[in-house]
């Protein structure tokens, strides 16, 4: 088995509208989770097993134009499940981004509405984030997902 490389960040963009946890059990939820999973694993895969073996942080940014609004907390579950490689119940894909969603120590979920009044800081924008933003302009919605190393607990996140 090829060991996962040492990484500090893994980012990708998912085209489409996130599905709320309120749709759990519906095909729409499963399809979205599957879409996120497919987007999270590069083709061809550059690792096997889990990319982040230990604790990690996840940052999610949901860009929308005219998409029906989803709550920032409700979109988390499907994405975290996909990062975990979940297919259904306890069945998982062999390869995934994270080992277990219980290892996620920090999650940031943000929704950005794109319109005439929106101002996005380009210097802090990741490339995949910008790609999600561009796709949302045409396709109504897209999601950026960034997985990073675990937060440094010596530094308060409120600062």
């Amino acid at each position: 088995m090829r060991p996962a490389p040492t990484v500090r960040r893994h980012e990708f963009m998912v085209k489409g509208s996130p599905v709320s946890v309120n749709r759990y059990g519906h095909s729409q939820y499963r399809n979205w989770r599957s879409t996120v999973y497919s987007a999270s694993i590069p083709t061809p895969p550059t690792w096997s097993g889990s990319l982040f073996a230990g604790e990690c942080s996840v940052r999610i940014r949901y860009f929308r134009v005219r998409d029906r609004i989803k709550d920032v907390d409700n979109i988390l579950k499907a994405i975290l499940d996909a990062l975990d490689g979940k297919i259904s119940g306890s069945i998982r894909h062999a390869d995934s981004v994270i080992t277990d969603d219980r290892r996620v120590e920090l999650v940031m979920s943000q929704r950005t509405n794109l319109g005439l009044g929106a101002r996005i800081d380009g210097r802090r924008l990741r490339r995949q984030e910008y790609a999600a933003l561009l796709h949302a302009r045409r396709g109504q919605a897209a999601v950026y997902v960034g997985v990073h190393n675990a937060p440094d607990h010596g530094v308060s996140i409120s600062r």
Binding site: L114, G115, L116, A118, R119, I120, D121, G122, R123, L125, R127, Y130, A131, L133, L134, H135, R137, R138
Partner: protein
């Protein structure tokens, strides 16, 4: 709002906050790397874009309008692209990365980079341009108007089908007039909404429905195209004004054809004394207009009025003349009244 108006609105925000704005600065400006793409807007403070000792806060903001239309053929170097369009996602992404990389190379923390967007009204304004038809092609225009008239004359259709035909032809005819005969100095009508063009036509005397009465009909047109609940009788009522507009387009731009298409109107015998009373005082009064361009244009149009006297084209020549002297209308109202009566006589009204 059109794209240009929205860009001005974005720039105005910065100006109000005390920034100096530069639009589309050429590559190499502001000591940026030569390989940096042409930027949309740059805002800087105090007239010094790159101060040696930057103050607290950003001294410059680069503004990228993500969904702006660009000279795409020039930007991408691809001959198969249209000349002016929005970049696709890949090209826009590449542009963003080049700007980001160039900024990183500059190593200046006092330069911010802000991404902005145009809203959907820019798309709506864009939908008002012609890509299948040149409104300056007189032959094509005549054919389109003749075909429209034939379709409207078809009484076999149901009332709703006719109303739909009327609405589509109405929107098209107004858009043609908005391009071909803007009626205002800065050609604002080309991208204006239908209500604005309708008002302009009413002011010019082409149609009879006041804008306040047209308002509900316009709401029904929007409802029709947005899947709402239009009021069909209102849409059907557009037919009268639509026929006037078709007549107007034909007589305004297609004089020779107009004489064969429109009905022959009995013309009164020419009274030379009456002409002298009609045009000569007008010519004398035009000489008192202080603004030279208006005086010159009005004098040319007066000559056209003389030439088109007793012809169907007189009416449009009069409309043009009235628009030119609209700022001085008070001085000419009595003479204009006589000209309007003459126009009615010629039309047989």
């Amino acid at each position: 709002m059109t794209e240009a108006d929205q860009l001005k609105a974005i720039a105005a925000e910065f100006r109000v906050a005390g920034w100096t704005m530069s639009f589309d600065p050429v590559p190499g400006s502001f000591n940026f790397p030569e390989d940096m793409p042409r930027l949309d807007m740059v805002a800087y403070r105090n007239g010094d874009p790159m101060p040696e000792y930057p103050p607290p806060g950003p001294s410059m903001i680069i503004v990228e309008v993500a969904n702006r239309r660009r000279r795409i053929r020039k930007e991408t170097g691809r001959a198969d692209h249209p000349y002016w369009a929005e970049l696709d996602e890949e090209e826009a992404q590449y542009r963003f990365e080049r700007i980001s990389d160039s900024l990183q190379a500059l190593q200046r923390d006092d330069i911010d980079f802000q991404v902005r967007f145009l809203d959907v009204s820019a798309d709506q304004a864009e939908a008002r341009s012609f890509t299948d038809f040149s409104p300056w092609n007189t032959e094509q225009l005549l054919k389109e108007m003749k075909d429209a008239r034939a379709r409207l004359a078809d009484r076999q259709r149901t009332a709703d089908d006719r109303a739909l035909e009327v609405v589509v032809t109405w929107a098209r005819a107004l858009r043609i007039l908005g391009h071909r005969f803007p009626g205002r100095r800065h050609k604002e009508l080309q991208k204006a909404d239908l209500r604005t063009i309708q008002k302009d036509l009413y002011d010019a005397g082409v149609i009879d429905t006041p804008p306040s009465d047209y308002f509900r009909t316009h709401q029904s047109i929007l409802a029709l195209f947005e899947g709402g609940s239009p009021e069909w009788p209102l849409l059907q009522s557009l037919e009268a004004d639509l026929n006037k507009i078709i007549d107007h387009i034909i007589s305004r731009f297609l004089q020779d054809e107009a004489e064969t298409i429109t009905e022959t109107v009995a013309t009164p015998p020419r009274d030379e004394d009456a002409d002298r009373d009609l045009f000569e005082p007008l010519a004398l009064r035009l000489g008192q207009i202080e603004v030279q361009p208006i005086r010159r244009l009005a004098t040319d149009q007066l000559a056209l009025l003389r030439q088109t006297d007793l012809t169907p084209a007189f009416r449009q020549a009069l409309i043009d003349f009235e628009q030119t002297i609209s700022s001085e209308r008070d001085q000419f109202e009595d003479l204009l009244r006589l000209l309007r009566e003459r126009s009615k006589q010629i039309r047989g009204v």
